[in-house]
């Protein structure tokens, strides 16, 4: 099946497509193009949302109602939010859209009855990269079948009308016409270990190391902060692993039988065992370097290792904390290079 105005397969999209596939979708496409393994999938483009919304608008206006609200009218915002979310989640999709999405889902999952997908909202606005906004988007894991996936696509769309989202847009006076949401649908990774990594040290801003945090099971336990992950620091260039902090990973997130995620106690013998081998740490470093080079700037990356040991990336975002800091140079060239030794001999070290 080919990409269309409704669907963009990862291999066909990139960062330039962000207006229609969102930040997350664009990033997954970009990684695919850079030959970095990600769980296969496609993006339900904003065009699909627009088609859905316009059928709803015909029945009853949406955008004008939102725009009529003031940022401080919390009560009215809440009432409208409840109303709109219910509408979006319960309304049927246009038939042609439904069939296109079901076909794409079938192609993605093939005949495997056990295949699950993740449904992840992928916002299109620059503001969405702001951490404060990113947290407002929804992700649904271990979604069982096409019908459920379609349901969660609508949930993602509906999240555009959550109370904080509407309040945020009203506060910043953002026009409703630009509001759209792409949705990523991709295969789930049955992660043995998952986590995040930073190509620039979150601790010191050091660009010469990759900091890796990981724990057993799905990465949601790490991202949500429910588990103190193992922490590894590996030198980008030499591959030396200088830090190995193995934590007590008392719980882990695993796929639930009927879809979704459940939290389980980690077996005693695994709690204090390293969740990554040295070989995997080195492999993650190699991937981190490739991604960083591809984007030309430091990245924060979500990753997972499946039960066969394959490493897949779930997300890569530009690092923003250290990159936006002003810093004075560590040293400037001296007219007489020998003058540098005064830093050692001149006192006040």
């Amino acid at each position: 099946m080919r990409s269309s105005e409704t669907i963009g397969w990862f291999a066909d999209i990139g960062l330039a497509d962000r207006p229609t596939v969102g930040g997350k979708g664009g990033s997954l496409g970009e990684l695919t193009r850079a030959s970095i393994a990600v769980p296969p999938g496609f993006v339900v483009r904003t065009g699909a949302f627009e088609r859905f919304l316009s059928t709803l608008e015909q029945q009853e206006p949406i955008r004008t109602k939102v725009e009529a609200l003031g940022a401080d009218q919390l009560e009215q915002i809440t009432a409208l939010s409840n109303h709109l979310r219910a509408r979006l989640e319960s309304a049927a999709l246009p038939d042609d859209l439904t069939s296109e999405l079901i076909a794409a889902h079938a192609e993605l999952c093939g005949a495997d009855p056990n295949s699950h997908v993740a449904v992840r909202s992928s916002a299109t606005t620059e503001d969405a990269e702001d951490a404060s906004f990113a947290g407002l988007q929804d992700t649904y894991l271990w979604v069982k079948d096409a019908q459920a996936a379609l349901h969660y696509v609508r949930s993602c769309w509906a999240s555009l009308y959550s109370v904080p989202s509407i309040a945020y847009r009203r506060k910043h006076g953002l026009p409703e016409s630009g509001v759209a949401m792409a949705v990523v649908i991709q295969r789930m990774v049955n992660a043995r270990t998952a986590g995040v990594m930073f190509t620039r040290s979150p601790l010191t801003g050091d660009r010469s190391v990759v900091t890796i945090e990981g724990a057993w099971g799905l990465g949601s336990s790490v991202v949500s902060g429910e588990v103190t992950p193992d922490r590894f620091v590996i030198a980008k260039i030499t591959g030396e692993i200088s830090v190995r902090e193995i934590s007590n990973k008392h719980v882990q997130h695993l796929p639930a039988t009927n879809g979704g995620v459940r939290e389980l106690e980690t077996p005693e013998n695994l709690r204090r065992a390293p969740s990554l081998s040295d070989g995997e740490i080195v492999a993650l470093r190699d991937i981190a370097r490739r991604v960083e080079r591809h984007y030309g700037r430091p990245q924060d990356i979500e990753w997972a290792v499946d039960h066969s040991g394959e490493i897949l990336l779930l997300q890569s975002r530009p690092e923003t904390v250290w990159s936006s800091k002003d810093r004075s140079p560590v040293a400037t060239p001296a007219e007489n290079p020998i003058q540098h030794v005064m830093k050692i001999f001149g006192g006040h070290r």
């Binding site: 030198a235 400037t332 030794v341």
Partner: protein, 607 residues
């Protein structure tokens, strides 16, 4: 180093007690090395890095000569802005030292001006002055090698008489002794001609890297600077060469584990031409590359490969096996050089601005300029020359033993160099007047008493530091040479309060994690006990230990930083290493299972 009254304090020097029964021996050390009341005002630390064992009386000459030379370089020759020289004291055989900081800003400024006239000239003319240094050092070595043999014949040789020499043999005994001492003091002056400046330039680059890449490991910086063909690698290279020669000449079957060097030499002699050819190659390697000793050159009993072939010969069977399996024995200097270049370029690329890159280029250039001295001087000074020196003193011991002063030549090291001179004058006099030497009745009992004291002192632990804790340590010599920082001191202060754990911490010297059997090797005589895959646990290693690294799986040492020999060789062999643990040889039992994490600098006791 000034201290404020409120700060925590280590025990005061005056609170240290001389171990009971050893008072006479303590009193025999020179008066200027005894602690006095006024020393309570100052901060001192135990120099366990250079002098990890109690120092016998003669060996204290090393502390004396070294601090004399270090101090004159700092204080008078280069005028280091913030520090003068090092003071030295000894109690219970333990050497404590203290720096003499300059804190008055006006004085620092005045000294800075002088420093730039002097030190900068050295940096600018480094290659020429270093070449000149090697010439000076070689002529000193040749001078000392040429010192006359010690002879007191019954009658002065007839040719001396007929030639009208007019000076009898006994005079030359004293003359040779004084020249021997003079040579040793001069060698230490040479040693410090470049050392502080060299370390300073290296640390300048090191500091830059630590600021630009806060999480870079010490060993990575060291790898960017380390030389590829430094003298430190030569002895080991020579062994590889000899292993290959043995195979080429078809005499390799003579080298088997557990066979003594003497037996091997004898069997080679019996093999005719190929055996003789190999022995000729051995002679080539021995001069000068077997002039390395099995310690750091600070104790008379750390003998050289030339004096004791068991260390180099123990390594040969392994090298022969490796060569037969097709392993390339010669170090691949081209590859190592290319790796170093790549490493420097890769880190350079990570810098954020062109300005930083330009500064980095300047600093690494300077570090590379000075590093051949930093790496190379030890072979000439602490090894080659020190061996010559102690062996010459041994000759005096032999002469005195022949004349009844001592039971054996080694006893000579129980005398201070002043006492030794008096014994020599005693012998000269006796030879001249025909009376028996007075020393026969004096020295044997004293030697016994002193040997017992050294053995007793070795059983007693000593405080890592004494006196008030300084607010800051701003003395580049102490930071550079001993790695002592305010943070170290805080750790020492709290060391007694921490519970015993199964962890021993040290410098992360070479990356990797390995579990295995610990082999605690206290001296070179024991290296034969190392089996393939063992973890070497030792006080300190030096170039003569390099061959051991082909067999072990990891290394742990009591002493040393990330630029120490064990660290450098471990990195070269790709073995995990933790160095500078302070106590590994005491805490780890021989045969115990341990885990060495060279990336974190942690050794864990497992069983």
């Amino acid at each position: 180093m000034k201290a404020t009254a409120k700060t925590k304090s280590f025990p005061l020097p005056s609170s240290l007690k001389v171990v009971s029964g050893t008072e006479n021996v303590q009193a025999a050390y020179p008066y200027y090395m005894q602690f006095g009341k006024e020393d309570d005002e100052r901060f001192w630390f135990y120099n366990s890095m250079h002098f990890p064992e109690p120092m016998c009386l003669f060996d204290m000459i090393t502390a004396e000569a070294a601090y004399c030379a270090l101090g004159s370089a700092n204080t008078r020759v280069y005028s280091l802005p913030t520090t003068l020289g090092i003071d030295c004291r000894i109690i219970n055989g333990r050497v404590y030292i203290g720096g003499n900081a300059v804190t008055d800003p006006a004085e620092i400024e005045r000294r800075t001006k002088e420093f730039q006239l002097r030190a900068f000239y050295y940096y600018e003319n480094w290659e020429r002055l270093f070449a000149q240094w090697k010439d000076k050092m070689m002529s000193l070595i040749r001078e000392t090698e040429a010192l006359p043999k010690l002879e007191l014949p019954e009658f002065e040789p007839l040719e001396h008489v007929h030639a009208g020499r007019g000076v009898a043999s006994n005079h030359y005994i004293l003359d040779t002794y004084q020249k021997t001492l003079e040579g040793y003091f001069r060698m230490w002056q040479h040693h410090f001609e470049f050392l502080l400046l060299g370390y300073g330039a290296y640390l300048t680059f090191f500091d830059f890297c630590k600021k630009a890449f806060p999480e870079i490991s010490d060993q990575t910086v060291a790898r960017m600077v380390a030389g590829i063909e430094a003298e430190i690698f030569r002895p080991d290279d020579e062994l590889r060469r000899l292993a290959k020669c043995a195979i080429d000449l078809g005499v390799d079957s003579q080298f088997r584990e557990g066979v003594s060097p003497d037996e091997i030499l004898k069997s080679l002699e019996q093999l005719g031409e190929p055996g003789a050819a190999w022995l000729k190659e051995l002679a080539v390697s021995r001069d000068p590359w077997f002039n390395i000793n099995v310690g750091d050159g600070f104790y008379h009993y750390h003998r050289s490969w030339n004096d004791d072939l068991s260390m180099p010969f123990a390594a040969l069977p392994g090298y022969i096996v490796n060569a037969k399996h097709g392993e390339r024995l010669e170090r691949q200097t081209d590859r190592l050089m290319a790796e170093r270049k790549q490493l420097i370029a890769d880190y350079r690329e990570l810098l954020e601005t062109e300005g930083e890159r330009a500064a980095y280029d300047q600093m690494i250039e300077l570090a590379h300029r000075v590093f051949p001295y930093v790496e190379g001087h030890k072979f000439y000074c602490e090894h080659w020359y020190t061996n010559l020196f102690f062996n010459k003193i041994r000759e005096f011991g032999g002469l005195l033993a022949q004349n009844g002063f001592f039971a054996k030549a080694e006893d000579v090291f129980q005398l201070s160099h002043y006492e030794l001179e008096s014994a020599i004058v005693d012998l000269m006099t006796s030879w001249s007047n025909g009376s028996p030497p007075r020393g026969i009745a004096r020295w044997p009992a004293i030697v016994r008493e002193r040997r017992a004291a050294i053995a007793e002192w070795a059983k007693h632990e000593t405080a890592p530091a004494l006196g008030p804790v300084p607010d800051v340590i701003d003395d580049p010599a102490i930071v550079m040479l001993w790695g002592i920082t305010r943070e170290n001191l805080d750790a020492w202060l709290t060391a007694g309060e921490q519970p015993n754990t199964n962890e021993i911490r040290g410098f992360a010297a070479s990356n990797g994690v390995v579990e295995g059997i610990a082999r605690v090797v206290k001296s070179v005589d024991e290296i034969g006990r190392l089996r393939k895959g063992d973890i070497l646990v030792c006080q300190i290693t030096n170039p003569s230990w390099a061959p051991v690294f082909q067999n072990i799986s990891a290394a742990v040492s009591d002493i040393g930083g990330s630029m120490s020999h064990a660290a450098i060789v471990a990195r070269e062999y790709g073995l995990p290493a933790v160095v500078g643990t302070g106590t590994a040889t005491q805490k780890i039992k021989d045969g115990q299972r341990i885990r060495v994490d060279g990336g974190r600098g942690v050794v864990t006791l497992l069983g």
